[in-house]
Symmetry: C2
């Protein structure tokens, strides 16, 4: 488990700092399976997990949802047959906060 | 409950017939909340359901997943804070089968 995965999210405010490009580049090696995508000009962290069937994909989605509730920080979770795509970003700041990298690392441990 | 919602899916084969434009137009009034979208040139039925929070959105997703398993016909389910987007289409025929309209109608009854 990486240091990031052992971290908790701090409460996030509208004026919380977005990660700088340099900070993000320094953190990404700890979550090498995650891609930085842009959606509606908002950078987001996304990873697709593959499974044997729909039930396993849904079961993983529920684990991610439990983690999200525990930290009160919520991703988008797309469930399809044999795959679950998890996307983290911080709605309030329309971008990536350190919390999102922490949640990505914790998702990897599920 | 509409007639469609009381129907079961028939087994779907690669050579099963896609709905014609006319058949689709005749069925859509029974599922008025659903949009026909195109993704990668594949027509799909999509509806967004709204909820008070993430837990309720996830709970609904699990009900849809149970329905999908029962019929062995699986949608894409996107869960976000306060909303669940369900998308039905038939992978094998790269389009819409009568089964998809049935599943949309049954999703409405959950």
């Amino acid at each position: 488990m990486s240091d990031l995965a052992e971290s908790s999210c701090e409460a996030c405010r509208v004026d919380a700092p977005r990660l700088s490009a340099e900070e993000l580049q320094n953190l990404l090696p700890q979550i090498p399976e995650w891609q930085v995508i842009e959606k509606d000009d908002v950078p987001q962290l996304q990873r697709q997990f593959t499974f044997r069937n729909f039930v396993d994909a849904m079961s993983f989605a529920n684990k991610v949802a439990e983690l999200a509730e525990a930290e009160d920080h919520h991703p988008a979770i797309l469930v399809e047959w044999g795959k679950t795509t998890v996307t983290w970003w911080t709605h309030k700041i329309k971008g990536l906060h350190r919390n999102d990298v922490i949640m990505a690392a914790r998702t990897d441990t599920l």
